[in-house]
């Protein structure tokens, strides 16, 4: 086990160095990429932020609480992007659908280790994370929240559970690309878009059937709404935290099963998307 962890850390170091090298070799392109990600992060939450400023709060949250909610959303989304966005690790259906799993199967490293490490981009992919961190710190200061070690652990737990939900969701959807490579090439992106599109909206005031759907079957409410309420002390932590734990466990289990089953199909039938001259069908 210790060997595997050491190997994983070595891979993280390698990918971090490659990411830094991109920045060192082509500063303009890399900086433009970072700036566009930052602009995208800010723009995605601007609607709810402006409404909360205009009306001194939104959907039962004060303006500062709304800022914390948006800060958590951006921080968690940024962390996910920084750890898994590179090489389409999170958008796994692209790699599966393009037949690129072949490249992974011939590497002298287990598949799970490659998937954990390949998405890491701490330099070019850190803008969302840093933006979210800044927003969270500002909102904590304005709210006067007591940041204790226990609260930080709770924050970490919320971030990890959110990451597990998104990853499980993307991989569960992405497994379908093993069977329909062309049709499902973009299905992980679509699945993730559900969360990044709706997760930033305050979800109170919804009809009960829609709220039920968005907190369980399509767990958009676990992206920021529920964690922010737990961290702000508006909900009882140990009890409420059970919901994301159960859903994350269910999604990860289902995704692991579906992905392994799909992989067995892939090993047998392959995926011939590329023509001889290198273009995809």
């Amino acid at each position: 086990m210790a060997d595997k962890i050491r190997r994983l850390l070595c891979l993280y170091k390698l990918y971090a160095r490659m990411d830094l090298q991109w920045f060192m070799q082509d500063k303009f392109t890399c900086a433009l990429c970072i700036a566009s990600d930052l602009l995208g992060s800010v723009a995605s939450i601007s609607g709810v932020f402006l409404l909360s400023q205009r009306f001194a709060g939104v959907a039962g949250l004060s303006a500062d609480e709304a800022l914390f909610f948006l800060g958590f959303f951006t921080l968690a989304d940024g962390l996910n992007a920084m750890l898994f966005a590179s090489n389409n690790v999170l958008h796994i259906s692209r790699r599966v659908g393009r037949g690129q799993v072949d490249h992974m199967l011939i590497q002298p490293v287990p598949l799970w280790m490659q998937l954990l490490a390949e998405g890491f981009m701490p330099v070019s992919g850190n803008s969302g994370f840093l933006c979210g961190l800044a927003l969270t710190i500002v909102s904590i200061t304005r709210l006067g929240l007591a940041v204790t070690p226990a609260w930080l652990l709770l924050l970490l737990a919320c971030l990890l559970l959110r990451m597990a939900v998104v990853t499980g969701w993307a991989y569960l959807a992405g497994a379908s690309a093993f069977y329909k490579p062309a049709a499902c090439e973009e299905i992980s992106s679509l699945a993730i878009d559900v969360f990044s599109g709706l997760g930033k909206y305050p979800l109170s005031g919804l009809p009960s059937w829609l709220a039920g759907l968005l907190f369980t079957a399509v767990p958009v409410g676990l992206m920021a709404w529920l964690p922010a309420h737990i961290l702000l002390g508006k909900m009882d932590a140990p009890v409420t935290l059970l919901l994301p734990v159960i859903i994350a466990a269910a999604l990860l289990s289902a995704a692991t099963y579906a992905f392994q089953k799909g992989l067995r199909h892939y090993v047998k039938f392959g995926c011939g998307r590329y023509r001889d001259l290198g273009h995809r069908n």
Binding site: T29, L32, L51, R54, V58, A183, C184, G197, L198, P202
Partner: protein, 256 residues
């Protein structure tokens, strides 16, 4: 005209290439997005927020129309993607103008959206009590002006993409961010804080979505909005044509 219609028809068929799951999944996401936004407006208005004259009906109509007319208020030709994958080069081998082919392809893409999303959602919204009749007839003039201006803005972004050596993702992010922030597609300008709406309403981005939606919902007078739209069309189209002419020699494509 026959060539344009044939191109548009090809695009309609192309919408179904990746299967029903991909097609319907995208529209379901939009429905959920719309429901969440409508719920926010209902909650805001229920808590008695001062909207400076923006009524509940107007806010809901504005939000509904923004979703229903999304492709027309946020014109996105396939130019950037085609430049990246090399399809753009094929357009030069056809006996039709580049702009014409891109426009036909874009308009063809609206058909599926109108049939599978816009008409059903509008009908359901009307049955749910949301007003779907335009408050001002000037909307019918404002929408084509917004579409025309949208094409000019899209071609300007295409030129910027050529200058940035086809960094498609970067340009896509910048463009999406500017659209979300400045076009008024998400929030009516009247609901923005710090007087931002007054500045944005007449800007080249603000008139893209904000102008037709404001006229449809009855939020603004037609005179100044239409004048601003005509002005930006006159300014942006020559700019787009000249810049494209100067940029096309620098076009780079990766293929694959």
């Amino acid at each position: 005209m026959q060539r344009t219609i044939a191109t548009a028809r090809m695009c309609v068929r192309e919408q179904g290439y990746f299967g029903l799951a991909e097609l319907v999944g995208g529209y379901l996401l939009r429905v959920l997005n719309l429901l969440a936004l409508l719920a926010i407006w209902r909650a805001l208005l229920a808590q008695g927020a001062d909207m400076e004259g923006l009524t509940r009906d107007q806010a809901l109509t504005y939000t509904l129309l923004s979703a229903v007319l999304h492709p027309m208020l946020n014109i996105a030709t396939p130019a950037s993607g085609w430049m990246h994958d090399g399809t753009m080069l094929g357009l030069y081998q056809r006996p039709a103008s580049i702009f014409g082919q891109l426009a036909a392809h874009t308009v063809g893409g609206w058909v599926t959206q109108l049939l599978l999303f816009s008409f059903p959602v509008t009908a359901i919204a009307a049955m749910a009590g949301i007003r779907v009749i335009p408050a001002s007839g000037w909307f019918l003039l404002s929408l084509p002006l917004a579409v025309s201006q949208g094409f000019a803005v899209d071609f300007l972004f295409t030129c910027a993409l050529i200058r940035l050596k086809s960094q498609e993702w970067t340009m896509h992010r910048i463009r999406a961010a500017l659209s979300a922030l400045l076009t008024g597609a998400v929030i009516p300008f009247r609901a923005l804080p710090w007087g931002l709406g007054d500045w944005l309403a007449l800007s080249p981005f603000g008139t893209l979505a904000g102008a037709p939606l404001a006229l449809y919902a009855g939020l603004d007078s037609a005179g100044r909005l239409l004048a601003a739209q005509v002005f930006w069309n006159i300014i942006l189209w020559p700019l787009a044509l000249v810049w494209f002419k100067r940029s096309r020699e620098r076009m780079v494509s990766y293929g694959g």
